[in-house]
Symmetry: C2
Subunit: 906 residues, 2 copies
């Protein structure tokens, strides 16, 4: 009979039920019982050996937080369940003779840093500690060690006393005994420490340690409730957008001890290797120990396989349970277990975390075994994981000397000379050196050095620090908050004493957070080698998994995937990576390099004639550019954006020229050219160039520019058609805010097309569309759709204008503060701001399609390669996303995930 | 019997009726008959002496333009109406014996430059010209002069021949005759000229001049239709947002001649003085002349009153008709009339244009006379007119020497030394001189000079030229396109030969377009003197009218009017001008002047302590600032915006410091201070400061700033309460994009308020709200409204972000091109872009009020003082608008107009 039935508390149908025996729950009840409680109940009901216990629901926590006091009826329910538990175990909580001890653990729906974790050994008092010793065959050391642990946990987490006070008392005792090992302390030592701890509690906790076991329990439960609102938990929820009102459950579980002798022990295990995904259980076992000892690493664990030698029966039972759990959850599970005098107890299970490689191999393997279908398999991997698998990595077989670890803030492997300030980084990089910028923290003044560095390493700050935010934005590998290293001026010292001086080579792994001395060999990802057509990797288990899941994703996805590519080489790579066209071909790089002089002529032209001369000289070059790209994407659409950036970007910097002129004047060497250049730069200088004369505005102020570019595109297309090819240019007008702008420019394009058709005799197929990247364009998208055959959402600029911040300026100056405050959970340039920018995208889609039902819709901002954003774009009905060539597989996978049934959980 | 009944053409009910006799129309049919035709019909049906005729409807024009050919049935209808007309007049069109002649005039619903105006004397041929001479008692000179005018008008407007060809032939003939007066040409001369003109037509018009009168008529009608699509007309419609598909009507009217002797003549008249609005008719009469002669000014006209001496009967009849028309239209009418041998003919009437002064006086007078009610009177004046009446003006009694005219591009009177280039203007202004910048045209390089100048004068370009757009944006008086003056390097020459050299004083009137040599005395507007409380002007007719209409507007308006004011002086003036509070008190000027050093300390601070020192020093100064303003607005709300601009605005310009350092380094004089300053300026330098670290972002990155400002405001309020005053501060957080930003900053404000209440013992009343000036804020306005007690729309920034252009940069660089192309009809910074920005405002109102029904809503961008925008803000339900103190009366009036019945026609 389930314990709850014995409790007989369900008489009043009006009263909310707050407490659930493990027998009453299940894995689907995470909302009510939290993750830990739901999984304990699931194991209990599978008949697995779970120490009996019960869960106080999140309802109770919410009621407590709302009312500010324990909800009515909760105490009675706890009493009833506790009584039932005592009867089942044949012991009473804190009984001086043979006490029942319990653990109290928090367990919210989502695991959440900053919340109280657990208090063990509740039920120990001055009286019952002796009973525990007796019950443990007189092991007083064990009993007092358990008691002092309770005092320590209770004092810090329930009464809010600084943990260092307890640690100092323990250290002082050890120093007094001339040892630095807890195990050297005797029972008497620990008994003395208990006294010290109780005094500490009385002095700093505002009360004596409660000698009533039930008081201990009740206070611990409320402390768990209160910990829902610790600053760190609140911040974490804000950053992760976890609702404030979920509340946490509390699990109360009878204690079992793995430290009762050599027939006892404790361990953690995974049903598969969480690092590689290889089949076969994987775990560690520690004889005669408690769970926290495994984590603390005070003794060496043994591999799980060796448990067979220690206790064949337990080992066999454990393997059977793990197989059952994996089949039951149809996923990799991790577990915690304890063996108490030869009896196996399951303390926890959950679907285990895993590396990206393991995620792919496990999902593929489960699908091959028929345990899950391919939709489910694709749902279990993610684009973010695939992206990590595509970074170059340190060669697994290469020698390496690990000298520290930090947070894996921005993935990828980087090798370079350590430099300790930004100007040096910029200077060394400029002369061709690869450098790793090492700083305690970075700030906006370090920007130039960060741009110059191959990788960034800091000793302070988390994943939302300036260094982390900027590095991710730039795609630079970054390890941050590596507190083990001590960064000084011009050197850092690792925990093992290794000193790295300026110029010494180091290697950092932004995917794992590892720091190595010297250069570690970097190898290409086998996944990339596969996409690049390297047949040698096709037998690799990971590559096989990727191929299988990508094939399925491609089969089910609705959303097309194109690439952003400006050169024939990029276009060809994008095609190998599965791009179905080019969504954004920028033309501005075509105005740089050896063409800069012509562009300067264009800008400094005296009148329309000189301007036209410059344009005429650019035309054949542009035509060659477009011929190459259209040829590389033969048969697929190529969206070409007409010139977008402000003209001054093609001229030298204003301050630079002004300073140069000042120098020249000092020496009487100022030339008319410098004066003229300064005047031109000054004329084109804009306070806010992002919001200045650019995009379609250039096309209207200098109509010859549009004509030249349109002619270059269409002549290139005509030439290819004549050569039997199938070019599909789509001409895209940037920065349109009003329908009239597009109409004016489109008329020019159409006129040029008619001319080219007549001149070449080749009928041309092309379309004209626009970028939607200004809020104004969204508001009049219906009117714009009258002339636009397609929209491409430029979500970078749309994000800038919607939020009113320029990416270049603000990521560095205040994004880390904003991320810390949870104003946004992730930079809106990394992942689309669905609430704000996303609503504008949706509005434009609705308005555009209402006017022109067959309007073709895509996105070419960087969000096109962002997994979270792709699901949104799929949901609002875009036709395709476009992203950098390396992101194409990621986008294909996420588009497949979005389309498959699992999209709801994305 | 009306002519149309005789025509008997309404047999087929399916056939659209295209032609309407004057008897069939009326003043309400402007859509169908155009303005001119509708008013002719109205007069005809009033029984006034209108020469018989008919109107071809806009339906016919639309059908012609759609089909590209004359619509079926039109020719027959014209024939029927023409026949009826011939019968009524007893003459046949072009009859060689005694020809009926007609005029053909365009007449669209709105008067429209660029369309064909009129062709007179249709019906004259080689044969009928003789008949005309005979009918005119043998006056051959009159007959051939009429014929050559027909040839000239027909040749240029119907056949598209360049007018200069005809003018040159006439000039050659006059030169040959040694005269420069047409009147010296004999009948024989003119007969010869007719021959020359016919040859011109044959050679350049692609055909001979049609000798069939009906061909003349039909071709003239189609030419009017075609003129709907001249480039200039299309551009005008695009700029004025007049629909493309209205079409024009064509009026065909039997000719009457005022040049048949001394018992004939022609005149124009107004029922009141259109310049001042004074009662009594006002007009000019020219004996023995045709209408075009009055316009050409070839002889001196006589005042209308003197017509009484010339022909008492006609004079009396005319006065009676004018009185009748004014009562009938209940408005000022202007008319054109002709006297033919003692018989009065009315050729045209319309509601007359008038000056702003006349508009007020006439509307007031009509209301006083009980002809219209006050709602109607208020509807007949406008805020734009009131604004013009408030500019300082040239003293009406001052001496002046008019030397030229241009377009009245930006209103106001300006006196200063003429300068001819922008650097000189800036230099002279910097040393305290008042200058007028004179240029052929301006371009972005002239910006500094335009800012420095008191007024701007150009000889080229219209009301959408660079000079005009920028001047209006800056509120500088501007006369543009003054083609009469000849601008050279360093001087200009007026039409009368006056030469203005650099440094000579001139005066320009941007309200009238007049240019004067020397300084003309400038006087304050009596309207402003009234608002400022000057009782001496209260008997002024204009002031009486303004008072009456303003009282009515205030009585009916729903919308509140506040002022933007940053100083106690401005606040007091705003109150005198009728402001009901301050809608925007900017705090940035409080960081300038003698406080700049403290602010520099704040910005360059080494760590939080130095920062706090600077803030502490600023606190008492800020408190004094707020005390003054809250006191000036005692009892009324004062919305104070926390610091908004980027910090680098308080530091010197980056390029300037860089150049200074370069100079110092050249001389080995570089100081640590310059290096340090350059580093700070560089650190704070932003590529796009408009989109950088500003507004609420500053408050989050430097929390002490918010605390200091909030404390200064609340301590000021507490002090005033203690002194028995009633301060009502509203604290406004700028540039909010996300609800979390507001929550964070609001929490700081609330905490400070609690402290101040505790410290002072004074209970405080204040509110906290936000500006809505980013599209993101609009999209999440409901969430923001949870913490915001009010929204104030910052439509300047909202316009910038929505369109993605920065006002400083783009008005100068491409707005004139955009206005020319009609991409917008008026700068969206002048008048709210209702379609784009307006929809966002509306969305935020809906979302905000849905979350918080009592959310207080206002606008504090410059649009708050723009007449057109005010109607929109009223319509979407804002509670108030806020504008500069001088604009407060304008806003009050427009808010009244919006509320009154006439708002529909605003």
């Amino acid at each position: 009979m389930p314990l709850s039935d014995q409790a007989g508390l369900r008489n009043d149908p009006q009263m909310t039920k707050y407490v659930y025996d493990f027998s009453e729950g299940g894995m689907d009840q995470k909302d009510l019982l939290g993750g830990k409680g739901a999984n304990l109940a699931e194991m209990f009901n599978l008949g697995l050996p779970v120490p009996p216990g019960f869960t106080i629901s999140t309802d109770a926590c919410r009621a407590y937080l709302a009312e500010g006091s324990e909800p009515a009826g909760l105490a009675d329910e706890v009493t009833a369940h506790l009584t039932a538990l005592e009867e089942a175990r044949g012991k009473r909580l804190g009984d001086p003779e043979d006490p029942l001890l319990v653990s109290v653990r928090s367990g919210a729906k989502f695991s959440m840093p900053g919340m109280m974790d657990s208090i063990l050994n509740i039920g120990l008092t001055d009286a019952s500690v002796e009973g525990l010793a007796r019950a443990a065959d007189g092991d007083e050391r064990f009993a007092y060690d358990s008691y002092r642990r309770l005092l320590q946990m209770f004092g810090t987490t329930v009464l809010g006393i600084g943990g260092e006070l307890f640690a100092e008392a323990l250290d002082a005792l050890k120093a007094d005994r001339g040892s630095d090992d807890d195990l050297d302390l005797t029972a008497a030592d620990l008994q003395g420490l208990v006294g010290t701890y109780k005094t500490l509690i009385s002095e700093h906790g505002g009360r004596d340690f409660p000698q009533d076991p039930r008081d201990q329990l009740d206070m611990a439960v409320l402390a768990v409730f209160d910990s829902w609102n610790t600053e760190r938990a609140v911040l974490y929820r804000r950053q992760e957008r976890i609702p404030e009102d979920l509340g946490t459950a509390v699990n109360i579980c009878s204690m079992v001890f793995g430290n009762g002798g050599d027939d006892s022990g404790t361990g953690v295990a995974f049903t598969r290797d969480p690092a590689t995904g290889a089949q076969g259980v994987y775990g560690d076992y520690l004889v005669n120990a408690q769970g926290e000892d495994v984590v603390a690493g005070i003794r060496n664990t043994i591999p799980l396989a060796e448990l067979e030698q220690v206790d064949r029966a337990v080992h066999g039972e454990l393997l059977a349970i793990m197989e059952r759990l994996e089949h039951h959850y149809t996923d990799l599970c991790d577990i915690e277990f304890t063996v108490e005098h030869g009896k196996l107890w399951m303390l926890q299970t959950r679907v285990g975390k895993r590396t990206p490689e393991a995620a792919f191999r496990i999902a593929h393997s489960f699908a091959e075994e028929g345990l899950i279908d391919l939709d489910e398999a694709v749902d279990r991997v993610s684009g973010a994981q695939l992206a990590q698998l595509m970074f170059p990595r340190f060669d697994a077989h290469a020698e390496r000397q690990l000298i520290g670890r930090g947070m894996n803030a921005s993935p990828g492997a980087a090798v370079g000379k350590a430099v300790f300030d930004s100007p040096t980084a910029a200077e060394w990089a400029a002369r061709g050196e690869r450098v790793i910028l090492v700083r305690r923290t970075t700030n906006p003044e370090d920007l130039a050095g960060m741009v110059a560095a191959a990788g960034i390493l800091t000793s302070r700050g988390g994943k939302t620090s300036h260094a982390a935010v900027i590095a991710r934005g730039m795609g630079r590998p970054c390890v941050c908050g590596a507190e083990e290293i001590d960064v000084d001026t011009g050197r850092f010292t690792a925990a093992d004493g290794t000193v790295v001086e300026q110029g010494d080579v180091i290697s950092i792994d932004g995917t794992t957070g590892e720091i190595f001395a010297g250069a570690v060999d970097v190898v290409d990802s086998p996944v990339v080698r596969h996409f690049e057509g390297d047949a040698a990797v096709e037998d690799d288990d990971l590559v096989r998994a990727v191929i299988a899941l990508m094939e399925h994703a491609d089969g089910v996805r609705r959303l097309g995937v194109r690439a952003n590519a400006d050169t024939p080489e990029d276009a060809a790579r994008a095609r190998r990576f599965g791009a179905e066209g080019i969504g954004l071909c920028r033309t501005e790089h075509m105005f740089l390099g050896d063409r800069r002089e012509l562009v300067e002529h264009l800008i400094l032209a005296d009148g329309p004639e000189q301007q036209q001369d410059a344009l005429d000289a650019l035309l054949p070059m542009q035509r060659d550019d477009f011929t190459g790209i259209l040829e590389a994407m033969d048969g697929l659409p190529v969206t070409i954006r007409l010139l977008d950036p402000p003209l001054h970007e093609f001229l030298p910097d204003y301050t630079e020229v002004a300073v140069r002129l000042a120098h020249e004047q000092e020496h009487g060497e100022d030339t008319p050219r410098t004066h003229r250049l300064l005047a031109a730069v000054k004329r084109l200088h804009e306070e806010n160039p992002m919001m200045g004369l650019r995009g379609v505005r250039l096309g209207i102020v200098i109509p010859g520019l549009v004509t030249m570019q349109a002619r270059a595109i269409l002549e290139a297309a005509a030439g290819l058609v004549a050569a039997g090819k199938d070019p599909r240019p789509e001409i895209m007008i940037p920065l349109v805010a009003a329908p009239q702008e597009l109409e004016l420019v489109k008329a020019q394009v159409v006129a040029v097309a008619a001319e080219v058709e007549q001149e070449t005799g080749v009928p041309l197929t092309y379309s004209v569309g626009t970028m939607i990247e200004l809020p104004r364009a969204v508001m009049v998208a219906d009117q714009i759709a009258r002339s636009a055959e397609f929209f491409s959402f430029g979500t970078n600029d749309l994000t800038q204008m919607t939020w009113g911040f320029s990416r270049d300026d603000v990521e560095s100056s205040f994004f880390s503060t904003y991320l810390e405050h949870g104003i946004f959970p992730v930079s809106p340039f990394e992942s689309l701001d669905v609430e704000g920018v996303g609503r504008l995208v949706e509005l434009a889609v609705q308005k555009g399609r209402a006017e022109r039902p067959d309007l073709h819709l895509g996105v070419c901002g960087e969000h096109g390669g962002d997994p979270r954003s792709i699901h949104f774009f799929d949901a609002v009905g875009l036709d395709y996303v476009s992203c950098s060539p390396y992101r194409v597989p990621v986008a294909r996978l996420e588009a497949g995930r979005s389309a498959s049934a699992g999209s709801a959980s994305a």
